[in-house]
């Protein structure tokens, strides 16, 4: 199962929301869709989910065009929008049951599917509650349940973690990991980039409707943040300014700064050169307690490649 976004363009009047973007992702992969507000993420996701029509270009979901055959594509895509379910006057079970029916599940098959999804998304205990009585986190679970009830191969999640408390976020992350294990292709947008780093295999970074970077996290990391950041913690914090001066004169070092009592510097050399730096520090009598490489994450990539422009 493969999703191919091809030369997608969407205009709203004179505003170009999505400007000729192309990328693809596969089953079993979680793809992060990252960009500042107004970058065109939601529009792209809505086009993949057949809610919007592109101005030009197309999206092929397992070879099915969302423009030409939206009815067929809908069977394959489960969409969790950034808005919560609006049907406040129906119960959780009725809501999921309706979408089961709407996607053609019949009789016992539907009953089993709805019950399984209620268990999976952990809403079985609140199945008789009206949607309006649910918390945001619970509504988000119901929304995910709705998208999963007909077992689509592709999941498109627009800001699913927005407004969730830390526990709900962890649970959502676990659910997504489980879904990826089930060989679903997942495209997820979020502003909580540290979390995306933990669950995504790949990433698309978009700004002002254009793709800035795309690929696996490691590839993008190498490309966008070529220098690694190394943190040094000394036993004597007061030696920090002295260390800062010394370290800036060492080879391959750039942009040294003090962060929370530690000295962080960007390093362009290889592992041997890093080891040589540590030796030099010890030779110059610095009491090094910790010398570690801080892993660059999506947030670093995001801050490096985007300019914060909106349309």
């Amino acid at each position: 199962m493969k999703v191919q976004v091809k030369n997608l363009r969407k205009e709203f009047g004179r505003t170009v929301a999505v400007d000729d973007i192309s990328f693809s992702f596969d089953s079993g992969h979680v793809f992060g869709f990252v960009g500042p507000n107004g970058a065109g993420k939601t529009t792209t996701m809505r086009i993949i989910s057949t809610i919007e029509e592109p101005t030009s270009g197309d999206v092929l979901v397992d070879g099915v065009s969302v423009c030409e055959e939206p009815e067929l594509a809908r069977r394959l895509v489960g969409y969790v929008p950034d808005t919560l379910p609006a049907h406040g006057d129906v119960t959780v079970h009725e809501y999921l049951d309706f979408y089961g029916r709407a996607y053609g599940l019949r009789g016992q098959k539907r009953t089993r599917a709805v019950e399984a999804i209620e268990e999976f998304t952990n809403v079985a205990g609140i199945r008789e509650k009206h949607l309006r009585a649910l918390s945001k986190g619970m509504k988000q679970r119901v929304s995910l349940g709705r998208a999963l009830v007909y077992d689509p191969h592709i999941l498109v999640l627009d800001e699913p973690a927005a407004g969730l408390d830390p526990r709900a976020r962890v649970e959502l992350r676990e659910l997504l990991a489980l879904l990826a294990e089930q060989k679903k292709a997942i495209l997820i947008s979020s502003h909580i980039l540290t979390e995306l780093t933990e669950i995504c295999n790949g990433v698309v970074i978009i700004e002002r409707g254009k793709i800035l970077e795309t690929g696996t996290i490691d590839d993008v990391l190498k490309k966008s943040v070529p220098r690694r950041t190394i943190a040094v913690r000394l036993a004597d914090v007061s030696a920090g300014p002295h260390l800062l001066k010394e370290i800036l004169q060492m080879p391959h070092v750039e942009n040294a700064r003090t962060v929370a009592g530690e000295t962080h510097f960007e390093f362009g050399g290889n592992d041997d050169a890093a080891a040589e730096i540590l030796n030099l520090l010890i030779a110059r009598k610095f009491k090094v307690v910790e010398f570690r490489q801080t892993r660059a994450n999506l947030e670093d990539i995001f801050m490096t490649v985007t300019k914060g422009g909106v349309q």
Partner: protein, 512 residues
Amino acid sequence: MTAVLAKLRSNLANWRDWEINPIVIKELRQAVRNRAVAGMLMLMLVVLFIFSLGFLISNSFDIDSDNQIGGPMFQTFVTILAGMSIFFIPLYMGVRIAAERQENNPDLMYVTTLSPARIIRGKFFCGAYMALLFFSACMPFMAFTNLLRGVDLPTVFFILFFLYLIVCAANLLAIFFACLPLSRPFKILLALYGFFQSIWIIVPAVFASTHMMRAGIGSMMGERYFWIETVTSITIAGALGGLFYVLSVALISPPSANRALPVRRYITLIWLLGGLLALAWVWKAADPEAILVWHHIMFILLTLSLVVVVSNGDRLSFRVRRDIPAAGWKRTVAFLFFNGAAGGLAWVTVLYAITYLMSAFVMTIASPRAATTFSIEDRSHFMIVFPAVLAYLFAYALTALFIHRQFLPNRPAKVAGLLAILLAGLAAVGPGIVLFFLNQLSWNSLEGMQLGNVFNVFYLHNDGRAFYHLCFAGAWLLVAAILNARWFWRQANDFKPLAIRAVPPETAPAGQ
């Protein structure tokens, strides 16, 4: 046809798997929990109860052995029921659908695998069930009036049935308006307009039911003509309801679907059946005026269709092109019925032409009573006025298409339809304003001839002046047709089936 029959056979064979339309289940669940629905139902029952009590108390002092208060009571109940159900149910359904179909943000149920037809049917049946709920709540009060004399039970049931059909028709109308792709402010304005305009459905419905009650429907039920009239009325109402249903389905179908096909097929069907019915009426009842009824109704319907077909885009989606028959007459027929402005124009032209020629034929030669029914002036008027109006309508449409193609090619196709309306409006209002100022602020000149103004044709009683209109409109149409000829020819030539499906080039998978 064979596929449809096979599907029907398969559905019948698997009757155990039949399930109620999910939309009906969801909508009814929400309706019974909706405070507005429950409140309106309770309000209706309270009003009915108060009126019953009022009638009984006021008449209990009237000592008359022949007191028949059932009739007036029934009339009052019918008015209350009609008011409540025609005001409320279509408004409730319309507002719900309009809210679900907000521009660019439709409810997610519209992107499920439910077909547009099933969604519209679900909405309609929910409205019909709600109406049934209101009617059944009212039924005991209605039946009670029979005990008080003045109205018989067959009349009660017939009038309720009649009212029920009107509520269902109003419901379909509301669904259609709610499906129109308008922005929220326009939808609110439309809802308000519809709410106030529904008085024009309620008042005739109440008057008709009063007339039926006074005429004594129960005693007329044994007559043949009663049933002919009833069945004819139900058929016409059903045909109109069907049209709104087909239009609503087309409105919520994906743009890549062949949305024009069911609509044009349906209009052609009612055009054909209406024509046959009118002809049968002309021969059987020797009443040639029946053909004019058909002509005028179809004239209005086809004029509206003309605006819609002009708003069609030129580009056919792959799925539409895949369905185009390979060659021969089937392809020609498909050109008329499938998506596309050029085919739509040809379709409207064919139907207009046949309608006009058939009517003219009946009016002049075919009907034995034509000479006595229509004067020479009537015929001459018909022969000049309608061709002039048709020429104007097509001239506006073709000019709008040309302007859109040449000057606004990047604007959506619906702009062409708007331009056509705008041209007609400008031609109607523009000269009037100019003449008003040239004529020292007097409106007298408006009664004169205004070439280019289609509405002016209807106001002229002098056929000589109408003939000038015919010549002017004909010349305009000719120029517009020449300007559009190449485009039309290209569209007709490009209307070919998709030979091989274009496979887009592979994009390098990112990050894999």
